[in-house]
């Protein structure tokens, strides 16, 4: 069974974000980039299927320029079998989803894992758009996934919903957007890192796709007023301040 794991290349979670002075884009100077944490959950779950004895091959895919290749190498070190870079700038959810869908079309991936969102653009749109473009089933915000049924073609999943969790089944092929719970992150070991150097990483030319949404500019959230402090002995004044603002 072929599994595609879509990887976003994002600033490390501890990075302090700074934009170029004109707000056109992120200032990348000194920023470390990593696999989007939610995508890493999907990669880890795919590797879990292999460890359970299922015959799977795992392709890691990223849309981006040459700068994303170290991130793909890390995915290979963690356990992907091969990697593909679609040589296009990841500028918006619609074009990224279409690039991925056009690459995957006809290649018979049974499962396409994505993160529930990327931690840079926070859109949540890419996975559902891939599913629709390929006419696959779609399970979002998945916290658990097992394969069963005849020839492992039926997936049982749990997904987060407002105020609880939903248990559901879907026949493969399926796009699954992952979040915490579906698997634990894995740290690549030295053997994996060495093996990753020899694993194939191919570069594919982008497809011609529309870009219906563009970023005009980035800015910062409004600065906050300094914190108003209260003494421990004066907790009542804090409660009164909250009440005065109508907060309870």
């Amino acid at each position: 069974m072929k599994i595609l794991v879509c990887i976003s290349h994002v600033p490390d979670t501890t990075t302090k974000i700074q934009f170029e002075a004109d707000g056109s884009k992120l200032n990348r100077a000194g920023v470390t980039f990593v696999i989007n944490p939610y995508c890493e959950y999907g990669l880890s779950r795919a590797i879990g299927f292999k460890e359970e004895g299922k015959q799977v091959s795992i392709t890691a895919l990223c849309v981006g320029g040459p700068e994303v290749e170290p991130t793909l190498r890390k995915a290979l070190a963690i356990g992907a079998d091969d990697a593909v870079r679609i040589d296009a700038a990841a500028t918006d959810s619609a074009s990224v989803a279409q690039q991925i869908a056009k690459y995957a079309d006809g290649k018979e991936f049974k499962i396409i894992f994505t993160g529930k969102e990327s931690i840079d653009f926070n859109g949540s749109m890419v996975p559902g758009m891939i599913a629709e473009s390929l006419d696959y089933g779609f399970v979002s915000f998945a916290t658990h996934m097992e394969l069963g049924g005849e020839n492992g073609q039926l997936a049982s999943l749990k997904r987060e919903i407002d105020g609880g969790e939903e248990v559901l089944e879907v026949n493969l092929p399926v796009v699954v957007s992952c979040q915490k719970g579906i698997s634990e992150w894995r740290i690549p070991n030295m053997r994996g890192i060495m093996a990753a150097r020899k694993k194939p990483l191919s570069v594919t030319s982008p497809s011609d796709v529309p870009q219906p949404v563009s970023t005009v500019k980035f800015s910062y959230p409004p600065a906050k007023e300094p914190c108003q402090y209260f003494e421990t002995e004066d907790t009542a004044s804090l409660a009164e301040a909250l009440a005065a603002k109508g907060l309870f």
Partner: protein, 324 residues
């Protein structure tokens, strides 16, 4: 032509996030000079549907097929798209719920529409300016432009005002029979996390972290939350250690929230935690470490022992509520 709202119900009722999305959709419809219509899928009473009229909805299409009482991604996408075409919708608006975010992207592809996710300012259709959303997990704001005839929009929870705009409403049944292709996902069971307030739509949230020293001490957090009508939340380490359930974990890798009031107790404020809660409108921090990073984005703070402060805060809130 219209702006079409997906009036998502939660076991037959509309929650606050839908009225917030309806307010956004109404303002958008007004700016575009078109009607606000809505689509409701599944079993919802007429009384409940009529509530949409309070928020400017002039017509609601109801899709009442028995197969659609549970959320099925493919089928809901097909149904909403058919209604959007019948309604000649220029924009389809969703609340940024789990189901809203799951179904909106499918519809964006079906309608060849521009997808706008988690927006909190009004789209200005007249000049292709497609409103703003948070980026970089709350560390940035991204202004967007649109180059498409139609838009599919999810509205950030607690990100836009909720305002009544009463109008007369008509209810029209819309026939939709899902075919096999529309039933890819099979709902089996809904497991409710708790009877409490849902974190994503809570106005108030009381959250606690490692400073609590152990799960046995959470009683006072729950008591304070109940007094404030708040949902409870926690930091990543406390969820990872099993002190609290994972569905309470707020932060970059947990749930991202934007309540009106967020009280952080015994949480230092790691950058990943702040990324998930920094959109909160009023932040209270209680921590014994005056250097805790959380104080930098707090509106109100107490530097002190939480085991001393929280019981006093509970008594103070009780006292104010008793005299109110």
């Amino acid at each position: 032509m219209s702006v079409l709202l997906f009036a998502e119900n939660n076991q037959g009722t509309f929650k606050k996030t839908i009225f917030e999305a309806a307010t956004y959709a109404y303002d958008l419809a007004q700016s575009m000079g078109v009607a606000l219509e809505a689509v409701s899928v599944g079993a919802v009473s007429e009384d409940e549907l009529n509530k949409l009229g309070n928020y400017g909805v002039s017509k609601v299409y109801t899709v009442g097929n028995d197969k659609l009482n549970d959320f099925i991604n493919s089928a809901y996408a097909a149904a909403i798209t058919k209604v959007a075409l019948a309604s000649e919708a220029k924009a389809v608006v969703f609340a940024q719920t789990y189901n809203g975010r799951a179904v909106a992207p499918r519809i964006a592809v079906k309608l060849k529409a521009a997808p706008l996710s988690g927006v909190f300012t009004l789209a200005d259709a007249a000049n292709s300016f497609g409103s703003s959303k948070m980026s970089y997990s709350g560390k940035g704001v991204e202004a967007l432009s649109v180059n498409a005839e139609k838009m599919v929009i999810t509205v950030k929870s607690n990100g836009y005002k909720t305002e009544e705009n009463p109008s007369s409403i008509s209810i029209e049944a819309f026939e939709f029979n899902p075919i096999e292709k529309d039933l890819k996902e099979i709902a089996k069971e809904i497991v409710k996390a708790s009877e409490g307030i849902s974190l994503t739509e809570a106005d108030n949230v009381v959250s606690a972290g490692r400073g609590m020293k152990g799960p046995e001490n959470w009683g006072m957090i729950e008591e304070l939350a109940e007094l404030l009508g708040a949902a409870t939340a926690c930091s990543k380490p406390t969820a990872d250690m099993g002190w609290r359930p994972h569905h309470e974990h707020v932060g970059q890798t947990g749930i991202q929230i934007a309540p009106t009031l967020y009280i952080a107790i015994g949480i230092s404020g790691a950058i990943q935690h702040l990324a998930g809660v920094s959109s909160s409108k009023n932040i209270v921090v209680i921590n014994k470490d005056p250097e805790a990073p959380f104080f930098k984005i707090a509106d109100f703070g107490i530097v002190g022992d939480l085991f001393e402060v929280v019981p006093k805060l509970i008594e103070a809130v009780k006292s104010i509520k008793a005299t109110a």
